[in-house]
């Protein structure tokens, strides 16, 4: 249908009406960096890292919110583009406690900066998300450092009063992804841009802590934040991505069946993130994202238990299974299968439910099987 084309880095590329320059480039595997752009939300053009050079245009333009047009000639990594990006990155790095390796190498300056950040952060480690940060990646890609930027004391204190999320304003680059995630993806309308100029801050109405706002701790903003400004409380300084392995699975709470990643370290689930596929496309709720502690709870049952004189004692599988099988057999053979019942669970897999109903019908010889989900 559409035969309209534009030129990116010398390649003639076709586009559909309404597509942005960014979308066309991505479709053709041309990498334009982005920070504020969030899939599924209206582009805001806030960070300007996606600027490109368009022949004939006075200024660089942002690719994420500029529609493709026939005949445009676009350069995505021209000298002017690279210079602009370097400047943006440098300003961002210099704006707060970005104490990762890209900060710079002037020994004296690094040490005093590090001491300041550690004081504000209460940790002797580098930034809680270093190695897993879009800003750090970009600084490395464009070889930018923030040396000689004097980072004064953080303007706003960290918010740690809720059990799920730490808000570290000193590392916020004002990209607004969290605002988009909260308002346009989850539509919880809990946060927005507040104050002006150097005072700028992401706030709840009335600038109250999240716990006293409409926030429902879905964590969409944490997953969207490209830097270390929003981090899960239990993960911050405790879990590093290179220590963990991810397994994709299905949430075990409600029937939506969100797809998620369990991040595992030493056989322990230490973090959960949403997977970017149907039905949830990366979103989770507070239970799916933060309700994983039961897995590793010390109260988990670890051994078969047999009750004797009113109290439980541990037993081996052989003993417990033989006891159960023997009793079931005896009751079935004496009173008939219909004197027995099985309750299965909406928390078991399909395979386990299948085996349980097969057992009920084929072995116990009754149809007395039900699940409690009607309850």
């Amino acid at each position: 249908m559409s035969t309209q084309t534009l030129t990116i880095n010398g390649r003639d590329l076709s586009f559909e009406p309404g597509e942005t320059i960014l979308a066309v480039a991505r479709r053709h595997h041309i990498d334009i960096p982005t920070l504020c752009h969030l899939k599924g939300a209206t582009p805001t053009g806030a960070c300007r890292i996606c600027v490109v050079e368009v022949s004939g245009a006075q200024n660089l333009i942002t690719a994420c919110n500029t529609p493709a047009a026939a005949g445009l000639v676009v350069q995505t990594e021209s000298a002017a583009v690279v210079a602009a990006r370097k400047q943006i990155i440098q300003l961002m790095l210099g704006s707060g406690n970005h104490n990762c390796a890209v900060r710079g190498s002037d020994h004296q300056e690094w040490t005093s900066f590090q001491v300041k950040v550690q004081g504000e952060d209460g940790s002797s480690q580098l930034c809680p998300v270093w190695g897993d940060c879009r800003l750090q990646d970009l600084a490395y890609r464009y070889q930018v450092s923030a040396e000689r930027f004097d980072a004064g004391p953080a303007r706003y204190a960290m918010e740690t009063v809720n059990p799920f999320i730490v808000r570290d304003f000193s590392r916020c680059i004002q990209c607004g992804r969290c605002v988009q995630a909260c308002n346009e993806v989850q539509v919880n309308n809990a946060i927005q841009f507040g104050y002006k100029g150097p005072e700028a801050k992401i706030i709840t109405p009335g600038d109250r802590p999240l716990k006293d706002s409409d926030c429902v701790f879905c964590g969409e903003c944490v997953q969207a934040c490209p830097v270390g400004a929003l981090v899960e409380k239990d993960v911050r300084y405790a879990v590093r991505p290179w220590e963990t392995q991810k397994t994709r699975t299905t949430c075990s709470y409600c029937g939506v069946g969100c797809q998620l990643y369990l991040h595992v370290r030493d056989n322990k689930v230490v973090k959960v993130t949403g997977a970017e596929v149907a039905p949830n496309h990366g979103s989770l709720c507070v239970k799916g994202r933060f309700g994983y502690h039961f897995i590793n709870s010390p109260e988990r049952l670890t051994d078969p238990l047999i009750k004797e004189n009113g109290t439980f004692r541990k037993a081996s599988w052989d003993e417990a299974l033989d006891l159960v099988a023997g009793k079931f057999k005896q009751i079935r053979d004496t009173h008939g299968g219909d004197s027995m019942g099985v309750l299965v669970s909406a928390r078991m897999t399909n395979e386990e439910n299948y085996v349980a109903q097969k057992f009920t019908r084929a072995v116990l010889k009754t149809n007395n099987i039900d699940h409690c989900a009607r309850l």
């Binding site: 397994t247 029937g255 797809q259 004197s339 909406a346 897999t349 395979e351």
Partner: protein
């Protein structure tokens, strides 16, 4: 669901009833909210509580508890009177319309207002909004099913969808939201007293023969079994001798808990298989430790019939084992050898005996799940049901009259109680209560009451009160909230201390066997 979650975003009008979606299906609620905020969809919420979703609604109808059939009939009455019904859909795809339209005559907006308390003009506005839309989607949850008239309520919603032709197309459908993650799968797999997998009836002799052959046994019973709500009274009467409970905690989730406890005590032999020593497990003769979802492979089927993979991320603690392994061991030790190499082998057997899963395999759902029915390996799955015809051919209208709930308020018990869940807890709390952070947000049971009722009974926010019904009494803290509406209080059912189900009514829907959790009569007073 007849349609998919993503499909809700295609609707022009969305009717949500008996579902506190933002708390119980949070991620699904984002689809509703986005449709309203960014795509101009209209939202009608019908709910006795001022739930969060009412803030997004164009119309909020607030029915008295247990009056769902009445307002649904009222909507249809208006739709017929205004000739907003979809005549060609009714003529081509349904039957029984005449009996329905005759029965609907008396459900005038004024008559319905008398029963439901919904102002006549709001009912009329909702009827026009829903029937006038190009695509209308109905979403419902336990607030519709947990009534003695639960089955009637569901059938009435189906009537409403058929009369407006809002079925079998994008953005339409009658969409039940499953409360627990694999309810859909448990039902699909035959975890029900009357059907094998894929709802193949046990009473059908040919079906029994087919299963006997597949399983290598003889003598499968063609007598439908007992529902859980019938099993417990039988246990109480001594007729049911043994119960094998896997991953459930009826000691907290069932209506009228006092009766449940007595029933379980009457059993000769109780085996409970679970991940924790739950209230129910404590009563068992033998407790068998299970692996949880993160420790096993398999599949879950979500509320939109999408079969998705579950994958092992960690090993189970101690001796805990997958539920299928434990059950298969018991079977083998009873003389019926059941051996599977792994969950994949079980799934392959499921596909062989289950027509709607026949085309699904682990390989096909590696990246993204498939919607059943998926009868062959080439079949792409079925995101939307009933596009051409209904399972039985023509859709059948049921002319259903409203009946009042089993229990009414009176002088002694002047308040209605309804129950439900909270965002930060899940079901009986066996999993969520192990997260300190979730507990911090929702630490204990409470009763939610309107400001007016609080003033009437002289209660302050935070007071300890006793709430009593004809069945029991609990102590909880008062929370005065604008979610509550005068005359009705709400208690979450997650908590063992202050358990709402000490109070609820065990009266059952005669068809589904679901108890009337959503309505009972209570009285409230300051705790001594």
């Amino acid at each position: 669901m007849t349609n998919t979650i993503a499909d809700i975003e295609q609707a022009d009008v969305i009717l949500v009833t008996g579902s506190n979606t933002t708390e119980n299906h949070p991620v699904l609620s984002t689809v509703i909210k986005r449709a309203v905020k960014f795509r101009g969809a209209k939202l009608i919420v019908v709910d006795p509580r001022r739930i969060k979703l009412t803030e997004f609604a164009h119309l909020w109808l607030r029915p008295n508890l247990g009056t769902d059939v009445a307002w649904i009939n009222g909507l249809m009455h208006v739709i017929l009177k205004e000739k907003l019904n979809k005549a060609d859909f009714i003529a081509n795809r349904t039957e029984g319309f005449d009996a329905l339209s005759k029965m609907l005559e008396k459900y005038t907006p004024d008559f319905v207002e008398g029963i439901t308390g919904i102002p006549a003009e709001n009912l009329e506005a909702a009827a026009k909004m829903f029937a006038g839309a190009k695509a209308g989607s109905i979403l419902y949850c336990m607030g519709i099913t947990q009534h003695i008239s639960g089955t009637d309520n569901v059938k009435s919603l189906a009537n409403l969808a058929m009369i407006t032709g809002h079925l079998g197309a994008p953005g339409t459908g009658v969409n039940p939201l499953r409360g627990q993650n694999n309810v859909q799968g448990a039902c699909d797999m035959g975890g029900l007293p009357n059907v094998y997998t894929a709802y193949q009836p046990v009473a059908d002799l040919a079906m029994a023969r087919k299963m006997e052959e597949a399983w290598g046994v003889t003598g499968l019973s063609t007598q439908p079994g007992l529902t859980v709500t019938k099993m417990l009274p039988k246990a109480h009467a001594g007729e049911l001798k043994a119960l094998y409970i896997i991953g459930e905690n009826p000691m907290l989730s069932d209506a009228d808990l006092n009766h449940v406890e007595k029933s379980l005590k009457h059993l000769d032999f109780l085996v409970v298989q679970d991940i924790f020593l739950t209230e129910t497990a404590q009563m068992a003769d033998v407790v068998l430790p299970s692996a949880c979802f993160a420790e096993k492979d398999g599949t879950f089927s979500n509320t939109e019939r999408r079969v998705q993979r579950v994958r092992q991320a960690v090993t189970a603690p101690g001796q805990a084992k997958e539920d299928w392994w434990i059950t298969a061991q018991i079977a083998s030790r009873m003389g019926y050898p059941m051996q599977y190499a792994d969950s994949r082998a079980i799934f392959e057997e499921i596909a062989r005996v289950t027509p709607s899963y026949a085309g699904i395999s682990y390989r096909r759902i590696e990246d993204e799940g498939l919607h059943w029915p998926c009868p062959t390996e080439e079949h792409p799955g079925t995101p939307i049901l009933h596009t051409q015809q209904f399972t039985r051919g023509k859709g059948l209208f049921h002319a259903i009259e409203w009946i009042p709930p089993a229990e009414q308020v009176d002088e002694e018990y002047p308040l209605y109680l309804t129950t439900g869940r909270l965002l930060y807890q899940y079901h009986t709390g066996t999993m969520t209560m192990k997260s300190e952070d979730l507990n911090e947000r929702a630490p204990e049971s409470f009763v939610e009451i309107s400001g007016k009722d609080a003033a009437k009974y002289n209660l302050q926010d935070g007071d300890q009160v006793t709430i009593a019904s004809r069945r029991g009494e609990i102590r909880v803290r008062v929370r005065i909230q604008d979610k509550a509406v005068e005359g009705t209080v709400f208690i979450p059912f997650h908590f063992a201390q202050g358990a709402a189900n000490q109070l609820t009514n065990g009266a059952l829907d005669p068809v589904s066997g679901i108890p009337e959790f959503k309505v009972c009569a209570v009285k409230i007073g300051k705790a001594a």
